[in-house]
């Protein structure tokens, strides 16, 4: 095996040429392997049928003031809360500059009495409590996430605990006074 002498050995000119060929072909190999990897990585992203998601229509007529309902959208709960005048004024009295994720209540709703948010804690994805009358609502009267103790206010904004962001407001539109379409 080892007795085939390498004639190019020692010839500096040949070595740089070989080095270049080695680096060039390695680079092509690495890029090629990376490209070949991509279909596999991308296959793990949401498939076409998962992406083709319907929107959800919600009938608001049975939801009395002070009540809330939870509807399913894209496999996640969406909170629809019929806020009381007190809850609205509490949400609007806050000094926005002092918030972790500063946002005015006015910018988070289309109609002040209806708050629509994705009911997923922005910390690690639990569903906060506060939809049912008997639920704890945290220190700010909105929602309380039992997983690691995040408190949200009556505008769904993060006020205390580890979550970084306010409850997300999904895209939605009022089809008429009593029907809202989410998504």
């Amino acid at each position: 095996m080892a007795d085939t002498a390498n004639p190019a050995h020692g010839a500096t000119d040949g070595e740089t040429r070989r080095d270049f060929l080695l680096y060039a072909s390695s680079a092509v190999g690495v890029v090629g392997a990376g490209l070949a990897l991509w279909p596999f990585i991308h296959s793990m992203n949401p498939a076409a049928d998962t992406l083709a998601l319907a929107s959800t229509e919600v009938d608001l007529s049975p939801v009395a003031e002070g009540q809330a309902i939870t509807v399913m959208w894209r496999g996640k709960p969406v909170f629809v809360r019929h806020r009381t005048a007190d809850e609205i004024s509490a949400a609007r009295a806050v000094d926005v500059a002092g918030l972790r994720d500063p946002q005015k209540d006015e910018d988070r709703v289309k109609k002040p009495e209806w708050l629509v948010t994705v009911g997923v804690c922005t910390h690690l994805g639990c569903i906060p409590l506060g939809q049912k009358a008997a639920d704890p609502r945290g220190d700010f009267g909105g929602w309380f996430c039992p997983c690691h103790g995040s408190h949200y206010d009556t505008s769904g904004r993060i006020r205390k605990g580890p979550a970084p962001l306010n409850l997300h407001v999904p895209e939605y539109a009022f089809l008429n006074d009593k029907t809202v379409k989410i998504g």
Partner: protein, 405 residues
């Protein structure tokens, strides 16, 4: 090498594939320190549990259906209708806990006797990688029965990656294959849960290879200097390891037969419901210390970084520990700090299982701080300042003189 046996057939095979002399070399003659204590039994036990997990898992997989509509029911069917299905599942579910008990004790052993120090750094790192892969495997396995804890555990853990700036959300969507933990997630977790144990086997082979290159540490922490310090692995340690297997199996089977759900969580017998988070979600016990560290920080990214940091930092032990002496037997001060550190980890485990309210949050923050203070400050400082007790001149000298061990 070739003097492996007088048997012609064995010799014929061995001359072509030296598998027999390799076994002879690494499991029979392999020189092992003669003073190993029972703390050295946990390595072989970890290997045993890995085999048990692969076998029990294989038979579970024959009856399991990785589909959100079927998974929970297929596990119930394993429990009620499949012959001895309950036994196989209880072996597998409790086996995961046994795996962590054994591996954590194995790590504590290395910690106390300085087994991470030169020349065993790579051996130590391979061990940490094994621990990480085990954690991933166990996490994904726990998702498979698709109960409430499965679902919400998966949700919380995958969401950890959303803390990564900019790409976090994309990574989480990619992990899920959708917009929440759902059927694509369950499918890929099953595929990976099946694969990773075999990856573990590969890393274990490297781990043992590294071990056989640098040889075992021992309670005195001093090197073997000659044949008088060692015993052949077989029969001395094969028998001792087998004795350990007997004791361990009694412990393991006591759980399987008498308290099969003691280490689990009752909420996982409620089918997954993406609309309701259980009031008190906790991971499996073996993740609790890390979970406590995650919750100690009131900042999402900070908590996640600290939690992963708690494991990664262990890889730096060979440099963090500045002492020239390996074994805590001869380290009058550091010894107590190591015990305190282990107590701190147990405390973190306790806190991780408690709800996120006072006084647990505050205790958790102190315990987390101590975890890092111990590793980053106490360990290097004590290594410099402490005056170790004199080391015995050799293992055999210490053993024959019955010196304090």
């Amino acid at each position: 090498m070739s003097s492996v046996s007088n048997n012609k057939i064995i010799k014929w095979v061995d001359d072509r594939l030296p598998i027999i002399s390799m076994m002879q070399h690494s499991a029979v003659e392999y020189p092992t320190p003669k003073n190993l204590s029972y703390w050295w039994n946990f390595g072989s036990l970890a290997g045993l549990v890995l085999v048990i997990m692969i076998l029990s898992g294989l038979f579970l997989a024959m009856n399991y259906a990785a589909n959100t509509g079927l998974a929970f029911l297929s596990v119930e069917r394993i429990m009620r209708d499949v012959n001895y299905g309950w036994l196989i599942r209880y072996i597998h579910a409790n086996g995961a806990s046994m795996f962590f008990i054994v591996v954590y004790l194995h790590i504590v052993r290395g910690f106390y006797y300085g087994s991470y120090k030169p020349p065993r750094e790579i051996l130590w790192w391979l061990g940490l990688i094994i621990m990480l892969v085990m954690m991933g495997t166990a996490f994904m396995g726990y998702v498979l029965p698709w109960g409430q804890m499965s679902f919400w555990g998966a949700t919380v853990i995958t969401n950890l990656f959303s803390a990564i700036p900019l790409v976090g959300e994309h990574i989480v969507t990619w992990l899920w294959g959708g917009f929440s933990v759902d059927n694509p997630t369950l499918n890929r977790f099953f595929a990976l849960h099946f694969l990773l144990p075999f990856v573990l086997v590969g890393i274990v082979v490297l781990h043992v290879w590294a071990l056989h290159t640098v040889k075992s540490n021992n309670p005195l922490g001093i090197d073997m200097k000659g044949p008088q310090d060692s015993l052949p692995f077989h029969p001395y340690y094969t028998v001792k390891d087998l004795f350990g297997v007997g004791v361990f199996m009694m412990f393991f089977m006591a759980f399987v037969f008498w308290a099969p759900n003691f280490l689990g969580h009752p909420d996982n017998y409620i089918p997954a419901n993406p609309m309701v988070t259980p009031a008190h979600i906790v991971p499996e016990w073996y993740f609790l210390p890390f979970y406590a560290i995650l919750r100690a920080v009131p900042d999402k990214l900070g908590g996640v970084l600290l939690m992963f940091g708690a494991i990664v930092i262990l890889a730096a032990m060979p440099w963090l520990d500045t002492s020239k002496v390996r074994s805590c037997t001869f380290r009058p001060i550091y010894k107590w700090f190591v015990m305190l550190f282990i107590a701190d980890c147990v405390l973190l485990g306790y806190i991780g299982g408690k709800p996120a309210e006072e006084p647990y949050i505050l205790i958790g923050q102190f315990a987390t701080a101590w975890y890092f203070i111990h590793l980053l400050i106490v360990t290097p400082l004590v290594g410099w300042l402490e005056k170790p007790r004199p080391l015995p001149e050799s293992i055999s000298a210490a053993v024959t003189k019955k010196e304090a061990v």
